[in-house]
C-alpha cells in the first residue's frame, strides 16, 4: 500500500539486517542521500547494497561501508579517488565485491522487475567478469548468460511524486531510479516535491504501482528546478542550456 511519510527515518524503518538494498544515483545525481543517512542511523547491518559505485568521501554509502554495515556490494565502479572507506574494507577482506559492467547491472535489475529469468548479454564476453558464466553463440555473436538482481528494498531519489505515487525525475538524475523501482519488493522514494495534483499521465516515468513509500525532502534539485521554471516563465532559456557547442567554444580559444 502506498504511504507518504514525514521523515527519512520513517521511510527506511522497515529495512532489516541482511536486506538487499538497491540504491539509486550516478555521482550525486539521483543519489538519495537523506535516505542513505537515515539507513545509517537505523542501525541495519549485514546489508547487500547495489549501487553504481561504492561510496565517495565521508558521506552516505561510504559511511555505511566504513561502519562495516555492508556485507556485500554489487557495483560497476568501486574504485574512485575518494573511495577510501571501500578501499580499506575491501583490502581488509571485510566486504564482498561483485563487479558487474554498468549496462549488465542495469539490465539485470530490469530483468528482475520484468520477470525475466535470465538473458544473454554480449557485454563482458571473453573477459574476466564472465568467468564461470554460461556462454553461448547466437547468430555468430557471443553472449554471456546474466541473472536478475532483485532487491528487498530500493532507495531512490525522484524529483516529484503525485498523490498516486507516480514519479518524474530530473535530467540525468533519472539514471537507475526507474529500473530499481521495478526490481525491489519495496521501493522507498525521496522527492523534492510532493504534488497535490496528478501528474500528466503521458509524462509519468515510474507509475505508482512500483512505489511503496514516499518522503518529501527538499534538496538542491528543487532550487535548480524553480530557477529553471522562473527562467522559462520569463521567456528566457533554461539556465542549463548550452549557448555554444564545444566546437564553437574551442574555436574561440
Amino acid at each position: 500500500m502506498l504511504e507518504f511519510v514525514d521523515t527519512a527515518a520513517e521511510a527506511v524503518s522497515r529495512i532489516t539486517d541482511g536486506a538487499t538494498v538497491l540504491i539509486g544515483g550516478f555521482g550525486n545525481a539521483g543519489q538519495p542521500m537523506e535516505l542513505i543517512d537515515a539507513l545509517m542511523e537505523s542501525g541495519a547491518t549485514g546489508l547487500t547494497v547495489v549501487n553504481n559505485n561504492a561510496g565517495q568521501a565521508d558521506a552516505g554509502l561510504a559511511l555505511l561501508i566504513k561502519e562495516r554495515r555492508v556485507a556485500k556490494i554489487i557495483c560497476s565502479f568501486p574504485r574512485q579517488s575518494d573511495s577510501w572507506h571501500f578501499d580499506e574494507a575491501y583490502r581488509a577482506g571485510e566486504i564482498e565485491l561483485e563487479l558487474v559492467p554498468q549496462g549488465n547491472l542495469a539490465e539485470r535489475m530490469r530483468a528482475a522487475g520484468a520477470g525475466i529469468g535470465g538473458f544473454f548479454s554480449p557485454t563482458g564476453y571473453g573477459t574476466q567478469l564472465a568467468e564461470g558464466k554460461e556462454v553461448r553463440e547466437i547468430d555468430g555473436k557471443h553472449y554471456v548468460l546474466e541473472s536478475p538482481i532483485r532487491g528487498d528494498f530500493a532507495l531512490i531519489k525522484a524529483y516529484a511524486a503525485d498523490p498516486y505515487g507516480n514519479l518524474v525525475y530530473r535530467k540525468t538524475a533519472r539514471n537507475f531510479g526507474p529500473v530499481m523501482a521495478t526490481a525491489a519488493a519495496h521501493t522507498i522514494v525521496q522527492v523534492d516535491e510532493v504534488l497535490d495534483d496528478p501528474l500528466n499521465p503521458e509524462h509519468v516515468v515510474t507509475p505508482g504501482i512500483y512505489v511503496d513509500t514516499v518522503v518529501g525532502i527538499p534538496t538542491e534539485s528543487g532550487v535548480k528546478e524553480r530557477a529553471e521554471r522562473e527562467a522559462l516563465a520569463a521567456g528566457k532559456p533554461k539556465p542549463c542550456m548550452a549557448t555554444k557547442t564545444a566546437a564553437e567554444l574551442a574555436a574561440e580559444k
Binding site: A29, G103, N175, A247
Partner: protein, 235 residues
C-alpha cells in the same frame, strides 16, 4: 541512419595511405577522428582524451552526443549558472543541454548502446590487439581494486568502436599487440586505432591496414611490431 553512416565510414576507411614526418598532437588527432565521424551520427565519447573530439565536431554536422548515464544531446561542460548537479556526463562532470536533447533511464541507455544504435564510440586503451581486442579497464596489477564502469558495454555497443591512444607508452612499450596481455574489456570490438603515430584499421583477420603514419615509417612500424602483419591502405 545506418546506411548513410556506413557508406561515409567506408569512404573514410578507403582513403589511400598517407604519411607525415611529425607525430600528431592530441588536438590534431582529435580533429582527424572528428573528420571521420559522419554527419548526423550518434556518438559516445569516452572519459578523458576522447572527450576532446567534440571540440572538432562542427555544429553543421549535427552529431549527437550520448552519455551512458541517460542522455542524448548534451553540450559542453557547464560553467557558472549552467552548473546543475542533476545534469552530468558519464565522467560526472556537469554539462549543458542542447536543443533536441532527451533523457532516459540507465536500462534504456545501455539498451541503446548494446543494441548497436550508436554509430561511433571513441575510447581510450591500455592495449589493443591486431584483431581488435580491447584492454582498457584493468592493468591486472595484483592487489588493485577492480572497477569496470561502462567500459565493457561501450566497447561492444557501437557500430564502430574507435580507440584513441598513443601508439607506445611513455616507457616506449607497445600498446598494439598480437594479443593483449592485460585483462580484456571486449573481444574483437575495435575497428580503428587513432594514435599519435598511426591511424590503423583493424579486422578480424588480424591484418592491420595502415591509413596514416605520422613521424614513423612503415618499416619502423613493422619492425616495432614483428608479430603483426601490416598493409598500406589502398595498396
Amino acid at each position: 541512419m545506418s546506411e548513410m553512416t556506413e557508406q561515409t565510414t567506408e569512404t573514410a576507411g578507403a582513403q589511400a595511405f598517407r604519411s607525415t614526418d611529425a607525430p600528431l598532437t592530441q588536438d590534431e588527432l582529435a580533429r582527424v577522428i572528428a573528420d571521420d565521424i559522419a554527419p548526423g551520427s550518434f556518438v559516445n565519447l569516452g572519459i578523458g582524451q576522447p572527450t576532446t573530439v567534440s571540440n572538432y565536431l562542427s555544429p553543421e554536422k549535427k552529431v549527437t552526443l550520448h552519455t551512458e548515464n541517460g542522455m542524448l544531446g548534451f553540450g559542453p561542460e557547464a560553467t557558472g549558472d549552467q552548473v546543475d548537479e542533476d545534469l552530468i556526463n558519464a565522467g560526472k562532470i556537469p554539462v549543458t543541454e542542447l536543443p533536441g536533447a532527451s533523457y532516459f533511464h540507465h536500462a534504456d541507455s545501455f539498451a541503446m548502446m548494446r543494441g548497436g544504435h550508436l554509430d561511433v564510440c571513441v575510447l581510450g586503451a591500455y592495449q589493443v590487439s591486431a584483431t581488435g581486442d580491447l584492454a582498457n579497464w584493468s592493468t591486472g596489477k595484483p592487489g588493485a581494486i577492480p572497477a569496470v564502469g561502462g567500459a565493457m558495454d561501450l566497447a561492444i555497443g557501437a557500430k564502430d568502436t574507435y580507440v584513441m591512444m598513443d601508439l607506445f607508452t611513455k616507457k616506449g612499450d607497445r600498446k598494439l599487440l598480437a594479443e593483449c596481455t592485460f585483462p580484456l574489456t571486449g573481444v574483437g570490438c575495435v575497428s580503428r586505432i587513432y594514435s599519435d603515430k598511426a591511424v590503423l584499421l583493424l579486422d578480424p583477420s588480424g591484418v592491420v591496414t595502415v591509413r596514416e603514419l605520422h613521424g614513423i615509417t612503415f618499416e619502423e612500424l613493422q619492425e616495432k611490431h614483428p608479430d603483426v602483419r601490416f598493409e598500406k591502405a589502398g595498396a
